[in-house]
């Protein structure tokens, strides 16, 4: 389908630019690692405590980093004349949303690929046996984060106080994602036989589907001039 091809062109462009400048990726990894470090110091050397809160810390790091990169989603457009450039092409503008969404997901996932192992080392968690489950949680959580993030980033792209508005709008929307991701991760890592990650995975999946439909539907209105 035509929308998919154009979305793919956008993903290709954004990832190519990112691969060449490595601007966002490096900054994101550093920042997230910094967050994890600071939390480790703040919480002290109690390894048992760190293990139990590792899920939360990890996702806090990912969330902060994610918000950092979101405002830059459309930055590459800004240096090339603004998002007008993309809007000028015929066809459904939803291709822009899809393209940007996929680009964000890929970028954030690649940062997490570094972050999860880093957390495993810092907090002394055994991640490898649960790698598949953690990957699944990371995927669902990242997609959920990116859906609302990409959408609100588009809405606030031309605002003067974008750096304030984006987190303000994003935070309430992210509560289910963070709750789901943090709890699921913690359950996997700490290994609680009484409880079930299934409920959180269902929450994340439902959130992803519901908000994907809503956001992609409303997207053209968000971009209207």
């Amino acid at each position: 389908m035509d929308v998919l091809r154009r979305a793919w062109a956008i993903v290709w462009k954004d990832l190519l630019i990112e691969a060449r400048t490595k601007q966002s990726f490096n900054a994101m990894v550093f920042f997230a690692a910094l967050v994890l470090f600071i939390f480790s110091f703040a919480l002290g050397p109690d390894t048992e405590l760190l293990r139990r809160v590792s899920g939360g810390l990890l996702w806090v790091g990912i969330a902060f980093t994610g918000i950092l990169s979101l405002s830059r989603t459309y930055q590459s457009e800004e240096t090339s004349g603004g998002i007008e450039g993309l809007r000028m092409y015929p066809g459904d503008v939803r291709a822009i949303f899809l393209g940007k969404l996929l680009g964000n997901v890929v970028l954030l996932l690649s940062v997490e690929a570094v972050l999860f192992p880093a957390a495993a080392i810092l907090f002394q968690i055994e991640m490898w046996p649960h790698a598949l489950e953690l990957a699944g949680i990371a995927l669902l959580g990242t997609v959920g984060f990116s859906i609302v993030g990409t959408f609100y980033a588009a809405l606030t792209v031309n605002l003067r106080a974008r750096e304030v508005m984006l987190p303000l709008l994003l935070f309430p929307a992210l509560v289910p994602v963070l709750l789901g991701a943090v709890n699921a991760t913690t359950l996997v890592v700490v290994g609680d036989v009484m409880q079930d990650t299934g409920i959180w995975l269902r929450l994340l999946s439902a959130f992803d589907v519901i908000f994907f439909v809503i956001c992609i539907w409303i997207f053209p209105i968000a971009l209207e001039e």
């Binding site: 508005m165 709008l169 309430p172 709750l179 409920i199 908000f211 809503i214």
Partner: protein
């Protein structure tokens, strides 16, 4: 366009609302007996519960009006939405404050992560975001469009947030069992609920009329420059 003619029904409603409010307060404070377990503090419920109910009702109105606006692009709906949001914020803050005030003597803490309270706090954040984004657009249509988007997505999120927090809490502690409610308490609650609803309608009438005048002023300024 006569200014005073419109305010007669509103003024009448205002008086009625005030009367019912007074009745509700008197009954709640003096007539109905205090709760056996909690004592007089429980009387706060007569204000807290209606406030919460109205906070959510206001938000629902915002949602409804936002959808209507996006479909019909009639600024009237936007004015109703904005008015409801402003009034809703007041009810939301009231709910939180009262909940907090009730919590301290009852449980000894200013804040608990009770699902309803937490969801209300997040709803406040969404409200604030809604009102904030309105302040960034000078063009009434753009403002209405952005606000409508935030309103719709925000509202869609509320039930999901509520469910997430319930799961989060119940997995950590058993849910508090609902006690059976004595009929006098129920009646007093209904009375105050009616009072608050009348107050809401009265405030809405006033605020919408003000919004309409503001809109006319904006048009005039835009036209004449």
């Amino acid at each position: 366009m006569s200014v005073s003619a419109k305010s007669k029904p509103a003024a009448l409603l205002g008086l009625v609302a005030l009367a019912v409010l007074l009745a509700g307060s008197v009954v709640g404070l003096f007539v109905v007996p205090a709760d056996a377990a909690q004592g007089d503090v429980q009387r706060l419920m007569y204000v807290h519960v209606p406030a919460a109910w109205l906070a959510f009702l206001s938000f629902f109105v915002v949602f409804l009006m936002s959808v209507l606006y996006l479909i019909q692009r009639d600024l009237r709906w936007d004015r109703v939405a904005a008015s409801s949001a402003e009034i809703g914020v007041v009810f939301t803050v009231l709910t939180l404050a009262l909940g907090s005030m009730w919590g301290k003597p009852t449980w000894g803490v200013w804040w608990t992560w009770d699902p309803r309270l937490t969801t209300t706090a997040i709803m406040l954040a969404i409200y604030v975001g809604y009102l904030a984004i309105r302040s960034f657009a000078d063009d009434p249509e753009k403002r209405a469009r952005w606000a409508a988007i935030v309103g719709i997505i925000g509202f869609a999120n509320v039930p999901i947030v509520y469910l997430s927090v319930i799961w989060w809490r119940t997995l950590h502690q058993p849910p508090s069992s609902p006690r059976s409610v004595a009929p006098e308490i129920l009646w007093t609650l209904m009375l105050n609920l009616a009072a608050f609803t009348l107050v809401y309608i009265y405030l809405m009438m006033r605020r919408i009329r003000l919004a309409r005048l503001e809109g006319k002023l904006e048009e005039r300024v835009a036209y004449h420059g």
